[in-house]
Assembly symmetry: C3
Homo-oligomer: 339 residues x 3
C-alpha cells in the first residue's frame, strides 16, 4: 500500500468514494490502531454539531481526536441554547434565538473540521431522500465536514461495517448479506437501511432485503443500489420470506425503518408496523444460514424488541466490534481530512 495521501475535503457518502479511497481509509484505520499517532493532529479542533441525540458518535469522535493529539467540542440538543432555527426567511419571534445561518459558520470558524448530525424529519420522503436539510447545513460550512448521519446517509457507520465484514473474513463477491427489517416501537429513518444497502452492494455482495411488503424501500433508493450493483457485480434481491432470505446467509444485518409508502400518514404507519411485532430476530432465524452467520446492528438496539437477548448474547453477535470500528475508521477519516 502506497501511503501517499488521498485527497478528501469532506466525508459525506460512501458511494462518493472510489474503491482505492475506501481501501486507503480501511488500511489507515488498521495502521492507526497498531501504531498510534498521538501527535498527528496536535492543536487541531473538531467541532461536533448534533441536531439529534447521540451516544456512540459523540463519544467515538471525541475519543478519536484525543487519540490523534487534538480535541473537539460538542454542540448538542441537550444544551440550554434554544433549538437552532433552520427555516429560510422566517421571523424569529418564537423560541429559537439563533439561526443555523449564523451558528454553523461560527462553529465552523472555531474548527478545523466539523461533524454534522441531522436526522430525517420524515415529513416529505423526497426531501429526505435528496438529503435536502443536511445539504442546506453543509452549504454553510467552509471547512472539511463529516456526515455524522443525515436523513439518508450514515457513511461512518457504513465504513465501520465494511471494516467489520473484512475483520470477520466475510467474503466479498459471494458473501450473502441479509438486510432485515425488524420491529421497533417508533418509525425510524431510512438512513441506515439505504446507506447499508449501498455499502454491501459497493462491496460486491449478494444482498437480500428481507422486509414485510409494506416496508419495501423506495424505488429511488433501490435504483441507485441496482446501478452500483451493475458496476460491482453485486446481486440484489427482495423478499418478505425469512426462510428464503436467510438460506446460506453470512450476515444478518438488522434494522427497523419507517414504511416508505406511509411516510405522510404516521398514524396508519404505526398501525401497520404494529402488525409485525413478531419481527424480532431470534435464534431460529439462523437455522438455514451458514453456520458462521453473524449478527450485525448499528446500535442502539432494543433488546427483546428488535432482537432477542439470546441473539445479542451469542457469539454470532458482532455488534461490539462493529461499534468499535466506528472509532477506528473515524480516526482514519480525521487523519485524512486534517493532517
Amino acid at each position: 500500500m502506497d501511503w501517499q495521501k488521498i485527497n478528501m475535503n469532506y466525508f459525506n457518502d460512501i458511494t462518493e468514494l472510489s474503491p482505492n479511497e475506501i481501501n486507503f481509509l480501511l488500511e489507515l484505520s488498521e495502521r492507526l490502531e497498531l501504531n498510534p499517532e498521538p501527535n498527528a493532529l496536535k492543536g487541531k479542533v473538531l467541532g461536533l454539531l448534533f441536531l439529534n441525540p447521540s451516544l456512540r458518535t459523540m463519544t467515538s469522535f471525541q475519543s478519536a481526536m484525543i487519540r490523534l493529539g487534538g480535541g473537539s467540542f460538542v454542540v448538542s440538543p441537550d444544551m440550554s441554547i434554544h433549538g437552532l432555527e433552520t427555516k429560510d426567511d422566517v421571523i424569529m419571534d418564537g423560541k429559537s434565538a439563533e439561526h443555523i445561518k449564523e451558528a454553523i459558520p461560527v462553529i465552523s470558524s472555531y474548527s478545523d473540521a466539523i461533524g454534522i448530525r441531522s436526522f430525517a424529519n420524515m415529513n416529505n420522503m423526497n426531501d429526505d431522500i435528496e438529503d435536502k436539510e443536511y445539504k442546506k447545513l453543509t452549504k454553510l460550512v467552509d471547512k472539511p465536514y463529516i456526515n455524522m448521519e443525515s436523513a439518508i446517509r450514515h457513511p461512518c457507520q457504513n465504513l465501520a461495517d465494511w471494516k467489520t465484514l473484512n475483520d470477520f473474513d466475510v467474503p466479498k463477491q459471494n458473501g450473502k448479506f441479509v438486510l432485515s427489517w425488524a420491529y421497533h416501537p417508533r418509525a425510524l429513518p431510512l438512513a441506515v437501511p439505504a446507506s447499508t444497502l449501498n455499502m454491501a452492494v459497493l462491496r460486491g455482495m449478494h444482498v437480500t432485503i428481507l422486509r414485510p411488503d409494506e416496508f419495501q424501500l423506495p424505488e429511488a433508493i433501490m435504483n441507485k443500489a441496482r446501478l452500483i450493483a451493475s458496476d460491482t457485480g453485486a446481486k440484489i434481491e427482495e423478499t418478505s420470506d425469512m426462510n428464503e432470505a436467510m438460506f446460506d446467509a453470512n450476515i444478518l444485518y438488522a434494522k427497523s425503518w419507517i414504511s416508505p409508502s406511509h411516510y405522510e400518514n404516521l398514524e396508519e404507519e404505526t398501525e401497520i408496523r404494529s402488525k409485525y411485532k413478531n419481527w424480532c430476530i431470534s435464534d431460529e432465524w439462523f437455522e438455514s444460514a451458514e453456520k458462521s452467520c453473524r449478527f450485525m446492528h448499528c446500535l442502539p438496539i432494543r433488546r427483546g424488541v428488535v432482537a432477542d437477548h439470546s441473539v445479542l448474547d451469542s457469539a454470532r453477535s458482532i455488534v461490539i466490534p462493529e461499534a468499535k470500528n466506528r472509532l477506528l475508521v473515524q480516526m482514519a477519516i480525521l487523519h485524512t481530512l486534517l493532517k
Copy 2:
C-alpha cells in the same frame, strides 16, 4: 512590537486595560493565528463556569485551549446538578444542593484559570451596574479569571469587536460608530451596550447611541463613557432619530436592551418595548451611511426581528468574522494569563 509579556492576573473589563495592553493582546491574536503554538499551554486546564447558556463563548474557549495544547471543562446550567445557590446566609433546604462558596473554590482548585459567566438578574439596576453578583463570584476564585459576560461587562466581545474594527480598517479617531437599539421579544441585559460603548469610546471613535427615548442608557453608564471620551478624544451623541444617527456612519452595531427606566417593572417594560417592533435593522437604515458601512452584532441574533435577513446576508454584515475574532482574542488572553 516588543514581545515582552504584559502582566495580567484577570481579564475583567476592557476599561481596565491600558492602550499598550490592548495592542499587545490584539497583536498576539494575529500572531497566534499566523503561527499556531500547539504546545504553549500543554497540561493547562481552563475551568468554564456558565451560570447562563452559551454557544459561542463555550465553543470558542474550548477551541482556544485545544489550539494552545491544553484543555478545558465546562460546568453549565444544562448539567443535572441542581442550580448553584448564590445567596448569603441562606438555609439550603430547597432545590439547590451546593453553594457557590464551595463550588467556585473547588472548580478553581481544578483549574489554572477560570472563566465565569453570570448574566444580570435584572432585579436591581444599581446592583447590575456595579456588577455585584459577578464580583461576589470572582472573590471566591484564587486563580486568573476571565469575564465571560457579567451583568454589565462582556470584555471578550469588546476586544473581538475592536479587532474586527481594525481588520476592516474602520478609522479610529473619526470613525463613526452607531450603537443602535433594536427590538427583541425579551428584555435583555445592559452588558453588551454598556461595554460596547466603552470599547468604541476607548478606541477614540465618534459614537452615536441610537435608541427610542425610553431606552436611554443609565446616567452612570453614560458618565463613565464621557470620562473615557475626555481622555481619548472620542465623541458621544444620543438620538432617537435614525436618519440623523446613520448619516456618514462607518459601523452600525445593533443590540437590544431593557428599558433602564422600567427595570423594576418588567410588565410595563414589555408594553413599551412592543411599541418599537419596527426597530428591526433593514437595508434602508444604511441609505445615508458611508457606502462601506458595516453591520455588527454580538450574536445570537433573531433574523427578521433584530435585523432583516437581507442585512445579515449582505456583504455589509461582518458578524461571522466578528464571532471568529472571539476565538482569536481569547487565545491571546489565555496565552497571556497562563503561559
Copy 3:
C-alpha cells in the same frame, strides 16, 4: 520511596489496597503536583460514565486527564439519550433505547480506562451493601476501571480524605476521627459513611460514629470495619451523644445517610429523619474537641442544614483542600492504571 510501579487493573475499593499501594498513590499524588507530567498519558482516553449527577468528580477527572496529556469524554444523565436500561431479560419497548450490555462495552472500546458512577437505588439494602448493580456494570468492562461512587463505595473520596488527613498532620494511631450523621432533606446512600469508616479504620484511627439511634450503620458494614480494625489497631465506637463523641476529637467528618432500618419504608424514614433537623453541625459541637479539630465533608453540602455557615467559613473547615485532593489522587490513580 521506590518508584517501581505498583500493579493495578482497577480502582474499586480502598480496602482492596495494601498499605504499600496506598502509600504509593499518595506519594505519586504529591510528585505529580510538584512535577507535572503533561506528556504521561498522551493520546490516552478516559471514558466517564455517570448514571447519576456529578460536579466534582466530573470536572476533576477531566482536569486530571488534561494535566497528564490525555483527554476524556463524558456520558451523563444530562444527555438527551434516554436512560440506559440495566435490567436483565427485559423487553425494551419503553423509554430506554439502549441497554448497558451494549452501551458499556461500546464506551469501553473507545477508552483506555473507564470511570463509572452508579449510586445506590435504595430499594434493597443487601443488594446495595453487596454493590450488586455496580458489579453488574463492571463485569461488562474489559479495560481498567475506576469506581466514581457506587452504592457502597467512594474510593476516590476515601483516598483524597486520607491525603487530606496527612496534609493536615492528623495523627494516625491515636487521631480521633468522629464520623457524624447530619440532617439532610433527602435520604442519602451509605456509600460515603461506609467507605469513610473503612478509610479511617485502615488508617488506624480512633473512630467514633456519632448518630441518632435510628441511624446506626448496618451490621455488615460495622463487622467489616471491626475486622479491619483488629488488623490495624484502630478503635471503633458508636454513640448518639455529641459531647461524648466530640471530646478530644481531631476531625469531625459530617455526612447524612438513610436510616438503614427503614430502608424499605422511605415514608417512615422521612418522618424519623425529620426529628433530627437540629443535627446541623455548629460551632458549639467543637467545644470539647481538640483546639485544632478540623471539619471535613465530601461535598456538596447544604449550608444551614448539614452545617452552619460559620463552620464552613471558619479556619476549621478543610472541605476545599479536601476536594482539591480529589484531583491529585485521581491523577495518581490514572497515571498508575494507564501509563
